[in-house]
């Protein structure tokens, strides 16, 4: 850590690999160069970093990633009933032809390329800014890398009650291995926005989403990560929540060789709420890491972290969660649960549910459990004539449902349930 860029080949090689051509507006150029010097100061994460104790960052930081065969595009329409405004990225590049028109009531929406061309743009106060703030107390070099190199992404400013969700859909067509995407979102006072994410993006996907929610704003986020088995992904979601705002994010992950989803939230306004949830099911060469860091910086805020991991045939599930309650963040209500369900003896669940509390009038709790499918429940179901496979699937669905219930919209939650059920069916052939 702390190496200068010119001397540090791995950083330069990675930056070089991820860099794409594109115009560079004034404010964006500044933001990128600031991110680059942040990255140079930090260096890339290594196995010995405490924050990477359970996940080996080497595949994410290697100069090159192996190509991965393109995936069939199967999740584009899963949210069709919600009639989203669909924006398509092909191999990490925004594809205007495949996307709906960039227009929706209550929204200002444009691509990062357009936004950076403007001399003065609100996005300059968010792009790389939330990411930079999220670098302390724990460094997240892969996010700084993204801010330094990303040229593609969507910039959204919600000014009213947006009735249709916005869907970012990724298609993976070429073997091109790496891509970096960076979205910037601001939800203005009293506005509401739902963002959906679907699809397989690339062999190695680095994504950052920065979300700023103003007073009384509401932001919902539902994501289905691609089923591509060999995918490597490092995603970061940075959020800053002002007074009385509400933030909810849910991620469903099935398969993927190595996925690290980081979520960094700062509650800066009183009475704000943040819920982060995730369900993942994986088998075999599957390593899934949810790393969440929630900072309570204001009074009477609520945060919830609900993570469920179903693991099979040597899969590894990791949860690193933290609730940091700053000295003046009284009346905080913090909750954190992480559970691993191991379907066989080869899988493992690794967790570090952390609390750091400097205020006394708070209720913070956390729980973490790990074990096999409950024998008694299994017996009960099989004794009612349900086959063992069906019974196990039922129990798996019941297990992850607590996380799915964190989704604000019931219809979207049902889509997730259907996806899961479909995945379990397919797995059994």
């Amino acid at each position: 850590m702390g190496l200068a860029l010119e001397k540090d080949d791995p950083v330069a090689a990675l930056v070089d690999r991820l860099s794409r051509d594109g115009t560079d507006g004034g404010w964006a150029a500044e933001a990128r160069s600031a991110a680059l010097s942040r990255l140079a100061g930090m260096g890339l994460p290594g196995r010995r970093d405490e924050y990477w104790k359970f996940t080996n960052p080497a595949p994410l930081t290697a100069a090159a990633a192996a190509d991965v065969a393109a995936m069939p595009d199967e999740t584009a329409d899963v949210f069709a009933e919600a009639t989203p405004l669909r924006l398509v990225f092909v191999d990490g590049r925004f594809d205007a032809d495949a996307s709906d028109a960039l227009a929706l009531d209550g929204l200002e929406i444009e691509t990062l390329a357009t936004a950076q061309a403007a001399d003065i743009h609100w996005a300059r106060d968010v792009y790389g800014v939330l990411e930079a703030a999220g670098q302390s107390p724990v460094e997240r070099p892969l996010a700084a890398l993204n801010s330094a190199v990303a040229r593609d992404g969507i910039v959204i400013r919600a000014t009213g009650q947006v009735t249709r969700p916005v869907q970012f859909h990724h298609r993976h067509t070429a073997a091109s291995a790496d891509c970096a995407v960076h979205h910037v979102i601001r939800v203005e006072e009293g506005a509401a926005l739902t963002v959906l994410e679907t699809g397989a993006a690339a062999a190695r996907f680095n994504k950052v989403m920065e979300v700023e929610v103003a007073d009384t704003g509401r932001f919902n986020h539902v994501r289905i990560q691609g089923r591509d088995r060999e995918r490597l992904a490092a995603t970061h979601l940075f959020a800053r929540l002002e007074a009385e705002s509400a933030f909810k994010s849910f991620t469903l992950t099935v398969n993927g060789a190595l996925t690290r989803n980081e979520c960094v939230i700062e509650l800066t306004g009183d009475d704000a709420t943040a819920h982060v949830a995730g369900a993942c099911i994986g088998e075999g060469d599957f390593h899934h890491d949810d790393t969440v860091f929630i900072t309570h910086d204001a009074v009477n805020c609520e945060s919830r972290q609900v993570f469920k991991k179903v693991l099979k045939s040597g899969a590894t599930g990791v949860f690193q969660g933290k609730i940091l309650v700053q000295p003046d963040a009284q009346k905080t209500d913090g909750y954190q649960i992480s559970q691993g369900l191991l379907l066989d003896d080869d899988s493992q669940f690794l967790a570090k549910p952390e609390l750091e509390i400097y205020a006394d009038d708070v209720v913070c709790s956390h729980g973490s459990t790990c074990g096999a499918v409950d024998e008694t429940s299994l017996f009960y179901l099989t004794s009612r004539g349900i086959s063992k496979e069906d019974a196990t699937d039922m129990l798996v669905l019941a297990f992850v449902d607590e996380a799915i219930q964190e989704i604000e919209d019931d219809a979207l939650a049902d889509v997730i349930r259907a996806q899961l059920a479909g995945w379990l069916d397919r797995r059994r052939g």
Partner: protein, 508 residues
């Protein structure tokens, strides 16, 4: 006006709790200093000092080499910085690594009667009578268990040397060896050679390695197969001399089917400068053996502005080597300016059990980073962790623990509960648990909510008309008492004060 009185105490924390914490944390009644002629080794640390310590203890060559090996490793190592404690850098060359009362240096006393009366008076003042005729007859407790008088054998360590061990003869009749470790190196080299450094390897961590190089004294216990140790064994550690580090080393071996209960107490005078204490405790439990290790740690915590106090950097580890062996750690941590301590269990034997009960109180400027590691290696192993952290003043209290289920540790079970209580708004409570589950027949549970007490018990209480809070308080208090009553009598008194602390307003 004390810092505690100035604090805003939040609603819901009753006065009794506040008083209890105050009485435990604020008055330090063991802060006196014994005026006694001391003999020091020169300040600083180098190979000559290591040789000198070895020579003073009359150690054989293999032991000297063992120490030198550790010293060389130590010079290559870095001080750990991951704990949530902050203190100025320690100058390891500005310490005395060996100090002993001059009267002990000339000719070793052959029995306690020959020990310098000043020394004995010190221990009496601390409430630790060494003379056999003055052995306490147990403390009257609530239960009838206390009705019978109890004997305790004591090994007292004053700065760097053991000043006396009581009841040696009676213990010898049972075949139990209880002596200072320096004596054990001389008298029982085969046992020491076989077990020393096998639980905490020489280069385990910075402080353990330092200890391996310079440990001056400590206790040694060997309980032969099938023997239930006829009395409680106890070591009382006292730091007296200024600028002296205390590095004691304890090795307890419980052979097949044996049982031993061991208590440890520690105090130090009040001084403006910080003093270093880096101990290593190794426990070995063979088949069907049980070791109960209890600590009331009451080193001088420094004054309310954080001046002075002991740096307590301790490595304690138990190896449940044999099948069905059991180790129970109980600790009440009230002292020390900085605590860095993780009594751990390696559950190697099948069906072995590890338990960890801890109450850590940090007040004023104290910092405690403490917890446990339960490493499950054998099948059907069980562990239980109950940790209560209480912070007041400007103190920081961290629970840091590891529960690891290895792939071969089938059908193992862990239950962890850690609760923290904050009194005042300038202190902090932190929880850093690591959970690693690598097989699916094991269950790991980590809970940190007061509402998660046993549902059946809660239901029972509710059914009798109690409201939820009352019911929780009753169940949790009952549980807490169990932990405290698990402490041997001598410590129960001191620890009893903590019972008054309720769990109201607690956070996970």
């Amino acid at each position: 006006m004390t810092a505690m009185e100035k604090l805003q105490v939040k609603d819901g924390v009753d006065q009794e709790t506040v008083d209890a914490v105050r009485s435990v944390g604020e008055r330090y009644k063991y802060g006196f200093e014994t005026e006694i002629e001391m003999e020091y080794a020169p300040k600083g640390l180098n190979e000559d000092i290591v040789r000198l310590i070895s020579e003073k203890n009359g150690e054989p060559d293999w032991m000297t080499e063992w120490r030198l090996g550790a010293y060389r490793r130590w010079t290559q190592m870095q001080e750990p910085e991951w704990a949530m404690v902050h203190y100025p850098k320690i100058d390891f060359q500005d310490q005395y690594y060996y100090a002993q009362p001059a009267s002990m240096a000339k000719e070793k006393p052959k029995s306690l009667d020959e020990v310098d009366p000043e020394l004995l008076a010190t221990y009496e003042k601390l409430g630790i009578p060494l003379k056999e005729q003055m052995i306490l007859a147990g403390v009257e407790g609530a239960g009838d268990a206390a009705a019978e008088g109890r004997k305790v054998a004591v090994d007292a360590v004053f700065d760097s040397v053991s000043v006396g061990t009581t009841f040696k003869e009676e213990l010898a009749k049972a075949g139990v060896i209880f002596c200072s470790i320096s004596e054990a190196v001389r008298e029982h080299p085969e046992l020491v050679k076989k077990y020393l450094g096998t639980v905490v390897p020489v280069s385990d961590n910075f402080y353990a390695t330092l200890n391996s190089a310079v440990f001056s004294d400590g206790s040694f216990v060997y309980v032969p197969p099938g023997v239930r140790c006829p009395m409680e064994l106890s070591t009382y550690f006292r730091i007296n001399a200024e600028n002296t580090g205390q590095f004691e080393r304890t090795l307890i071996i419980a052979d097949k089917g044996s049982y031993v209960s061991y208590l440890e107490g520690c105090t130090a005078p009040m001084r403006d400068t910080n003093q270093l204490h880096a101990a290593v405790v190794e426990l070995v439990a063979l088949e069907d053996a049980e070791i109960k290790y209890s600590t009331v740690q009451n080193w001088y915590p420094g004054d309310e502005n954080g001046k002075g106090g002991i740096y307590n950097f301790v490595t304690k580890r138990a190896d449940c080597r044999g099948d069905r062996s059991k180790v129970m750690w109980t600790q009440v941590e009230t002292g020390s300016a900085v605590t860095w301590k993780y009594p751990s269990c390696i559950l190697r034997g099948e069906e072995s059990q590890g338990e960890f009960y801890s109450i850590a109180i940090a007040n004023n400027m104290q910092q405690a980073d403490t917890g446990t590691k339960m490493v499950h290696l054998g099948k059907n192993t069980r562990s239980r962790i109950v940790s209560k952290g209480i912070s007041a003043g400007k103190a920081q209290n961290t629970y840091r623990g590891l529960v690891s289920m290895h792939p071969k540790a089938k059908n193992s079970r862990n239950y962890t509960q850690c609760d923290s209580l904050l009194i005042g708004d300038k202190c902090g409570a932190h929880t850093v648990p690591y959970i690693e589950c690598k097989n699916n027949s094991s269950r790991v549970e980590h809970e940190a909510t007061t509402s998660k007490v046993d549902d059946d018990q809660l239901f029972y209480c509710r059914q009798r008309g109690m409201d939820e809070e009352e019911a929780v308080a009753l169940v949790v208090n009952g549980f807490c008492k169990d932990v405290l009553q698990a402490l041997p009598m001598e410590f129960a008194m001191e620890a009893q004060k903590l019972v008054a602390i309720s769990l109201e307003g607690s956070v996970g």
